[in-house]
Amino acid sequence: MSNKKSKLIRLTISYIIILAVVFIIIYPLLWVVGSSLNPGQSLSGSKMFPDNPSLVHYKYLFDSENSNYLIWYWNSMKISIITMVLSVISVSFTAYSFSRYRFIGRKNGLLTFLILQMIPNFAALIAIYVLANRTGLIDTHIGLILVYVGGSIPMNTWLMKGYLDTIPKELDESAKMDGAGHFRIFFQIVMPLAKPIIAVVALFTFIAPLGDFILARILLRDEEKFTLAVGLYELVAKQFGNEFTKFAAGSVLIAIPIAILFLMFQKYFVSGLTAGGTKG
């Protein structure tokens, strides 16, 4: 009897805590959706449940004569996808070499990568800025993409190497016996087995440029070249509060697809990270 009672108390307390946390999580998210539906412009007049909800801000954002939102969206997608493709290619090459070959400089290379992944590459932002100026890559998407790809290599190489180490080497050795060349072993034997970690690296390198603010802000000058992060920040920062509802609408439009993508692949994230994390 008392056992049953204590179980009831335990569960009730658990549910209360969970309910409180759920409320704290949901509230800001609902609030921004509510703000985006307010017909007014400013932060001050916006309500979570507007009296007369309207889609006027969404219409405004899609009207390319008044707003650059669609351009920013397109820029962000373009930059993210190219970064993802280039990163996955170079990361799988380097990770494969570090995992499968023993060559002079391997140890130092791994150590260098380890240290580099600890220093965010925007710590050297002065250098990146000056270098971009010098090479004429300032205010171009190519420059930004190169910085993203280079920055993604150290960490993701370690991540993928950790996973590749778990794929038995006997597989490539027997393939080598059968006369398969280096490229063939790489493309037809190891890479197909590494699909889960490739998915993780792809998602990481796709999402990282979307969330990056500082590099894009330093390198991009022209409003038409902005990414979403920079563009949305400008929208709120220019006159704080006065365009808040527009910002809210813009946020909802980018947050929803990313959240869906994320939730779909969330399991891979966890397994990829724990596999790579505990091993490598």
């Binding site: 335990r10 569960l11 658990s14 549910y15 999580i25 949901i26 800001p28 998210l29 703000s35 932060l43 001050s44 290619i89 170079s90 090459f93 380097t94 070499s97 499968r100 060559f103 290379g109 240290i115 580099l116 600890m118 220093i119 590459n121 925007f122 710590a123 050297a124 932002l125 002065i126 250098a127 990146i128 270098l131 010098r134 910085v147 790809v149 280079g150 920055g151 290599i153 280096h182 790489f186 999402i207 979307l210 969330g211 603010f213 500082i214 920040y233 709120v236 509060g241 946020s251 947050a255 990313i258 959240a259 994320f262 939730l263 969330q266 994230f269 966890v270 397994s271 724990t274 505990t278």
Partner: protein, 427 residues
């Protein structure tokens, strides 16, 4: 010892001849290889000779005539010259090594490899290098190069008053570091920022880790219903891009218009709080926001670990008469900590450099009299401020170096301790 056994000394001859790249290979009768070395190195020298000379002149003097010599560009060209020189020296060293090795083979009476065999050797041994090259090249230019640049910049007086093209930048040795620790305003600011960075890193990270682990264990209770939906909601803050949520919070915490001061606090019967103008409240808000942003990641990790703990462990403990608390502290917690330890530590380094939340929430503010950083600036956002608003490039570079040294030593210390690194066969 080799000399005693062999009558010939091809080894030495080849090495000496190879001072001019390729000749040693000719001597070893490897004509094609020698030709490649000769052509490659002479064209390398031909193309880069002038550039390297100018580069070294530039990096030593940083320019002599204002308006004509651009010190910063000279510094960049100098670093590029150094990188190219190192690459050239590596090729040259390889040339000497190759000639010496093949000479040794001949001394010992082994035939040198035929062109065909050399080709196969090249493919086999060179394959990993071939694969690493594209990534490594990029890394040199967008990661290593900037780091070298900042390293050097920390020893110059590059700031608003010494900025090209109108003025020259000069080498000033350790003056920037001395200033940071000696001049009152810099010293006060540096230690204030450092102290807050440390409090921030430990406060925010520990809170998010603790909350994540706690909630994961709470939700993982067997008899709790609705696990799937609860878990999905718990992960939401991780799924929404952080820059968006931070900006949303910055709106919610707005002192006059924000929903927290206008609706929530009055509802609880409290007065409005100066979230954006009082540094203590801003700090509190930042730690709460980072906890909100960061706990789902730990939650997801821990949930993954919990699901992999076999039930038998708990059943055996129950048979032995262990209480819930005992089970938690001797089974659950050690297993969770063990499996997630490497990730937990990266969380600390992440927050140490968490620029986004600091900058987007309140721009590092509020301003504080008597120091040149905002009240919530951490090292990385202070560097940004020094660079972008006050143009103190030299000082910013010096602070960057201090920051890097901290991060690197923590990282090395941590990875030396983790098992995975010790197990790694590092050749």
């Amino acid at each position: 010892m080799d000399n005693l056994q062999t009558t010939t000394n091809h080894k030495r001859n080849a090495l000496l001849l190879s001072i001019i790249p390729g000749l040693g290979q000719f001597y070893n009768k490897q004509l094609l290889k020698g030709l490649i070395f000769l052509i490659f190195s002479s064209s390398f020298g031909f193309v880069f000779f002038e550039m390297i000379g100018e580069g070294f002149w530039g990096i030593v003097t940083l320019g002599e005539i204002p308006k004509l010599d651009h010190s910063v560009f000279l510094l960049i060209d100098g670093i590029i010259a150094i990188i190219i020189t190192i690459m050239g020296l590596a090729i040259y060293a390889f040339n000497l090594y190759d000639a010496h090795q093949n000479g040794k083979r001949r001394d010992l009476g082994i035939a040198v490899n035929s062109v065909r065999k050399q080709y196969h050797n090249l493919i086999d041994n060179g394959f990993p290098y071939l694969m690493i090259t594209p990534g490594f090249f990029l890394l040199i230019f967008v990661v290593i190069f900037p780091i070298l640049f900042v390293l050097l910049l920390a020893f110059t007086n590059y700031d608003l008053y010494h900025s090209p093209p109108n003025n020259l930048v000069d080498w000033i040795g350790f003056q920037n570091f001395v200033d940071i620790f000696r001049l009152d305003i810099w010293r006060t600011t540096f230690f204030a920022v450092l102290a807050w960075t440390i409090v921030w890193t430990f406060g925010a990270t520990t809170l998010q880790v603790a909350l994540g682990i706690f909630l994961a264990i709470l939700v993982n209770q067997k008899d709790l219903k609705g696990k799937a939906i609860i878990r999905t909601i718990m992960i939401l803050p991780w799924a929404v891009p952080a820059f968006i949520t931070i900006l949303i919070f910055s709106g919610m915490f707005n002192e006059t218009f924000g929903v927290i001061n206008r609706t929530i606090l009055p509802f609880l019967g409290m007065e409005g709080i100066p979230w954006m103008t009082n540094e203590m409240w801003t700090r509190l808000a930042l730690i709460m926001i980072q906890t909100w942003l960061g706990f789902p990641f730990i939650f997801a990790m821990t949930t993954g670990v919990l699901q992999s703990i076999p039930d038998e462990l708990y059943e055996a403990a129950t048979v032995d008469g262990a209480s819930i608390m005992q089970k938690f502290f001797s089974i659950t917690l050690p297993l969770v900590i063990f499996a997630t330890a490497p990730i937990l530590i990266t969380q600390y380094t992440f927050n140490f450099n968490n620029f986004n939340v600091i900058f987007l929430f309140n721009g590092g503010g509020p301003a504080i009299p008597g120091q040149n950083a905002g009240g919530t600036d951490i090292l990385i956002s202070w560097i940004y401020r020094l660079t972008m608003t006050s143009a103190q490039y030299g000082k910013a570079a010096a602070v960057t170096m201090i920051l890097s040294i901290i991060v690197i030593s923590v990282a090395l210390w941590q990875f030396k301790r983790t098992k995975s690194f010790q197990e790694e066969d590092m050749m």
